[in-house]
């Protein structure tokens, strides 16, 4: 998206709306964004500080909040690396090879985006719950999945699974296979090619996918809510902790803890914007290089053609 740049911007001679129409349209869309995005964002901080700094700080420094923060960080630390390995493997497969059933596989990767998080949680409950054969086998073996950390990890994994792959597939398709083919033809092994050519080329896109997946993993609510059991201090993630505080009418504390996730969201938006700019710049450099090369080739061939006369 960022790659589009300003190529579609009309030049000064292009007809455009009258200045009045422009101002009105701009005012409507900015007003809309203010009502739906700006005010809710500011409201979180206003509510969080309603009872002063004291309550704000106290909302974090208690065992339940700290346990929720710890569990969220632990879940994210488990889920994101799994997403990265899967995302890179899937992107390599889908961007580098053509095979039968490729489109079906793409649809399957996208599926978690379209399934309601609550339905995702329900699936895990049916799979691991005590009413299922599998669930009772696991329980007899002393393995607790639901209402415990593994269930929360699995639910988060389902919901965030496509993020890295989704970012990498279009990027790798755009970059083409020339450099990697050259590496193989020059005698590099598969892993050498991966570490020296592929990974450096996709690093910013990969980071972009990681940022999206971290933000979503830390904030997932619906799916985790179904499988967690809401045991305070044990299976509450930050969003679930916020929900409990809110339902107990401890609004200031709920918004204070929520503001933590707002910071995470704002940081990830900034990193994302910066990465989009970087990816677009890298892409432009590639295009410029390729153009310079092809111009060079064209001149060479013209010289050769001239010489043969």
């Amino acid at each position: 998206m960022a790659g589009h740049g300003s190529q579609g911007l009309p030049g000064p001679s292009t007809p455009t709306e009258s200045p009045l129409a422009r101002v009105v349209l701009l005012a409507i869309s900015l007003g809309f964004l203010l009502l739906f995005l700006g005010l809710p964002l500011v409201a979180v901080f206003q509510e969080a500080f309603r009872q002063g700094w004291h309550v704000y700080v106290e909302s974090f420094v208690n065992p339940a909040a700290l346990a929720a923060i710890k569990l969220t960080l632990l879940t994210t630390a488990i889920v994101v690396p799994i997403n990265v390995v899967f995302g890179v493997a899937a992107a390599w497969l889908l961007a580098r090879f053509s095979f039968r059933g490729k489109n079906a596989l793409l649809t399957l990767i996208d599926l978690p985006f379209s399934v309601s998080p609550v339905v995702a949680g329900l699936m895990l409950v049916l799979l691991f719950g005590s009413q299922s054969i599998f669930g009772s086998l696991l329980r007899d073996a002393g393995v607790q999945i639901l209402f415990a950390v593994p269930g929360i990890v699995l639910a988060t994994l389902f919901v965030t699974f496509p993020f890295v792959a989704r970012e990498l597939i279009p990027l790798m398709q755009q970059q083409g296979t020339e450099e990697e083919e050259a590496a193989i033809l020059l005698g590099a092994s598969g892993w050498q090619m991966f570490w020296r050519v592929t990974l450096p080329n996709i690093r910013w896109g990969l980071l972009y996918g990681v940022v999206l997946s971290v933000a979503r993993a830390m904030g997932e609510f619906g799916a985790v809510s179904v499988v967690s059991g809401h045991i305070r201090g044990a299976t509450n993630t930050i969003p679930l902790h916020v929900e409990i505080l809110y339902n107990e009418y401890s609004f200031a504390s709920a918004f204070a803890v929520a503001s933590l996730l707002v910071f995470v969201a704002l940081i990830s938006l900034s990193v994302k914007t910066w990465l989009e700019w970087k990816i677009a710049r890298d892409q432009n450099e590639r295009v410029t290089l390729a153009e310079a090369e092809s111009v060079g080739h064209a001149q060479d061939s013209r010289v050769q053609a001239g010489g043969s006369h």
């Binding site: 589009h4 911007l9 009258s18 964004l33 599926l111 998080p117």
Partner: protein
């Protein structure tokens, strides 16, 4: 001669095997269990669970609010995309980044933040109350929450389409004597329809399954403001696994229909572009 083309790049078997394995464990297995469970329970029990008055009311509410939110998002989102691409204004990059906020913000946080703004005592809610509109704890509140989560889908679909519009076509229309309004409605708008439609479908699909941002602002009254995802949770809390499974299957089938809808739309668009 072999029918399989020789592959120069390594790793096909490895990545195919690994990708399929991961997808089977994380995505296919849980989904298969849901569909299989639906086969285990007696049909009339399942039918009763999906067709009782409370479930029907939740479908109507969810479909209606998601549709209204997607329509409003398509209108305002297209306008926002237009302004972001065409009008240089101070802070444009900041606003552009802010559009992704609903993607980055956890849904539960969006839910309590929107409730704070649109509750009868909130910044916007108090004025709505003055003109006799109650937003929070009514279907209007649910629609507001779904507009929040769906907006980036429309803006991000339409933005590249606006950027790809060819200025030469607009110039031609103007030279041939079209007024600006005629150019907008007859020349430019039709070119944006496929992108807007894709954004609409994605926002609608997201709205159908949304949970976190809705439950705080909805009020959650059975028959009135109870969305379908919440009904699944209610059934689970009552240990009514058959009921939860049945409604879960309805939602899953709904997602499948929409995925095919989006894929069909994109195929249609590509074909159209190829033909143009």
């Amino acid at each position: 001669m072999s029918l399989r083309p020789r592959r120069l790049l390594p790793g096909f078997g490895l990545t195919l095997g690994y990708t399929l394995f991961c997808l089977s464990v994380v995505v296919i297995l849980p989904m298969a269990v849901l569909l299989w469970k639906a086969g285990v329970y007696p049909t009339d029990q399942l039918w009763a669970a999906v067709s009782n008055a409370r479930a029907l009311a939740s479908y109507r509410l969810t479909l209606g609010c998601a549709f209204a939110a997607a329509v409003l998002n398509t209108i305002f989102g297209t306008l926002v995309a237009w302004c972001l691409v065409r009008y240089p204004f101070p802070g444009r990059r900041f606003i552009d980044a802010l559009v992704d906020l609903p993607f980055a913000l956890p849904t539960a946080i969006s839910g309590i933040a929107l409730t704070a703004v649109y509750a009868p005592t909130g910044w916007v809610g108090q004025y709505l109350e003055m003109v006799g509109i109650r937003a929070a704890f009514t279907p209007i509140g649910i629609t507001i929450a779904l507009m929040f989560v769906g907006l980036p889908f429309v803006v991000r679909s339409v933005q590249p389409a606006v950027a790809d519009l060819d200025p030469a076509v607009e110039e031609a229309a103007a030279i041939l004597g079209a007024s600006r309004w005629q150019t907008l409605s007859r020349v430019l708008a039709p070119q944006l329809v496929p992108a807007a439609l894709t954004g609409f479908t994605m926002a609608f699909a997201r709205g159908l399954g949304e949970y976190g941002s809705v439950i705080f602002i909805a009020g959650n009254m059975p028959m009135k403001t109870e969305i379908t995802s919440l009904l699944i949770i209610t059934r689970l809390e009552q240990f009514d696994y058959a009921g939860a499974t049945a409604i879960g299957c309805v939602m899953l089938l709904g997602s499948f229909v929409l995925i095919f809808g989006v894929n069909g739309l994109q195929a249609w668009w590509l074909k159209r572009q190829g033909a143009a």
